[in-house]
């Protein structure tokens, strides 16, 4: 089946509107992406028909809610090809997933002098949880540098994998640059030394097929809201034997098997890490988003987006005074750029007046901005519902604002 972008656009009601009297051109998908009707319907259906708390009541609604909720877990398992549903932990998003690993696996396995290795292109959420862990344990955070194309310098990364390294945590794809990291190479090199690897998949997962068994990563985190699902729901995948050995994260309901005032027996995985009533309807809607994506096909989406990116890159390079930040050979659908003498914030406001939504700022990656010696960038990030015409509108807008600034 060929990729029909107009058919896909029709599934997204929010796209059918005007912003400042122009058709909306939504190019801020790396921040969060819009929701198809099936996801919206799933939330409405849940609250209209099937809602109750999960894993508790014997009544019909609770059984329906539990079945829908656990059904979503099975869908996630299939979508990323995990071995078991026990390896799928629902969290609020990628950020919480990383914090969970830092506070459980990290605290249990790291001591003073040990090292955690990240890269120079990480989002703050893959930097700060490790800094906090280092402060608590006396471990050290090491950063593998990137080059001017925005690629990881793999030789230096390998040199930083030492007998002191306990964990490697890297972005599968960078949110600020679009770089896709050579994660298979990273994982096999780390595993040779017995080092565990976490992949931050927040950016990668909407753009490519992710197969955790083939990657052989130890942990993989992602957020639902960047994957056409609601915000407030995300996934931590972990290999079962690792999860079972890890201490729990938060204490509360659902994560226990037996509680007395003297002691508590914890529940089995994945429930051990899911204290409190979860975001039930949003989790079920994540399942609906995965069904929708599977029907379209992640490989088809990846191919279409690669076409969009190369079209946008080619057009952008023709604009005088425009500099692309991040030109990795392996890159996802993100175009970060700066304009000579025009601040990204002005670019953002001016494009908004033309109905075009882009992100202007540091993209929660201040060290990346420092590396490229820019205060901020403007970023157009594409999704499967964007079109070449929209890219033309963006480029026309950029040319116009360059003219106005003179």
């Amino acid at each position: 089946m060929s990729f029909d972008v107009e058919k896909i656009r029709a599934d997204f009601p929010i796209l059918r509107q005007e912003i400042r009297n122009r058709p909306l051109v939504y190019l801020d998908n790396a921040a969060t992406c819009q929701k198809p009707q099936v996801v919206i319907d799933s939330i409405v259906k849940m609250y209209s028909h099937d809602y109750a708390n999960v894993h508790r009541g014997v009544h019909t609604l609770s059984e329906r809610a539990t079945a829908a909720f656990e059904g979503a877990r099975e869908k996630v398992k299939a979508f990323i090809n995990a071995q078991s549903h026990k390896e799928i932990i629902f969290v609020r998003g990628a950020t919480e997933g990383i914090n969970l690993v830092a506070q459980t696996f990290g605290k249990a396995n790291l001591k003073a002098g040990d090292e955690i290795l990240i890269t120079g292109m990480e989002h703050h959420s893959n930097i700060v949880p490790w800094q906090m862990l280092c402060e608590e344990t006396g471990a050290k955070l090491k950063v593998a540098p990137i080059n001017l194309q925005g690629e990881l310098i793999i030789e230096q990364f390998m040199a930083l994998l030492t007998e002191k390294t306990r964990l490697v945590s890297v972005a599968h794809m960078s949110n600020a640059l679009g770089t896709v990291n050579p994660v298979k190479e990273i994982i096999s090199a780390a595993h040779e030394k017995g080092i565990k690897v976490l992949l931050d998949g927040a950016q990668a997962i909407p753009h490519m097929e992710v197969n955790v068994q083939e990657l052989d990563c130890d942990f993989y985190v992602f957020s639902g809201h960047k994957l056409y699902a609601p915000s407030g729901i995300g996934v931590l995948y972990g290999k079962q034997e690792l999860l079972e050995a890890m201490p729990p994260y938060q204490g509360g309901g659902d994560m226990i098997r037996k509680v007395t005032f003297e002691e508590t027996e914890y529940n089995v995985v994945p429930y051990k890490f899911e204290a409190g009533t979860p975001s039930i309807a949003d989790t079920v809607a994540l399942g609906a988003a995965l069904d929708y994506l599977s029907e379209i096909g992640m490989a088809e989406i990846a191919a279409y987006e690669a076409e969009l990116l190369s079209y946008a890159t080619e057009k952008a390079k023709k604009i005088k005074g425009l500099k692309i930040i991040g030109e990795a050979a392996q890159k996802g659908a993100i175009l970060s750029f700066v304009l000579e003498k025009i601040h990204p914030h002005d670019i953002g406001t001016m494009l908004d007046s033309l109905g075009i939504a882009v992100r202007a700022g540091h993209h929660c990656a201040m060290p990346v901005m420092d590396f490229f010696q820019v205060p901020a960038t403007a970023r157009a990030s594409f999704a499967m519902y964007n079109t070449k015409q929209e890219i033309d509108t963006l480029m026309t807008g950029i040319n116009q604002l360059i003219e106005v600034f003179g």
């Binding site: 601040h343 002005d346 001016m350 033309l354 700022g361 540091h362 116009q400």
Partner: protein, 150 residues
Amino acid sequence: MFDELRDLYQEVIFDHNRNPRNFRVMENPDREVEGFNPLCGDKLTLFLKIKDGMIEDASFQGSGCAISTASVSLMTEIIKGKTIEEAEEIFEMFHKMTTGEDGEIDLDAIGKLAVLAGVREYPARVKCATLAWHTLDAALKNKEKSISTE
């Protein structure tokens, strides 16, 4: 083209963005304070010479968007020759104008700064305009070496 932005990006703002006034490092300033907007990465350093309660000279360095550059450039022009109290009063008025807190602002009293009134329609951009003034406020109160909008 960009018609609806004319209230925000007035010609005076483009002018000050292209040719910022008092854009220099000051030798031996009495006050030197850094202002930072972590949301957009705008950074500026404000230098003041103050004698007998009077701002004798004001200058700045840094990088920012057109709104923030024009705002700090205009500010340095206006506060020169003013007493600390007068500068604080202008800060108060400017703050009210940009946040729209006080419906009625005497635009005559605020003079040239009125060109920045347009930001109130753009909540995300208000901090671009007020960064300079919060930095000035900190410099006048002689409290901190650096301030942040967040």
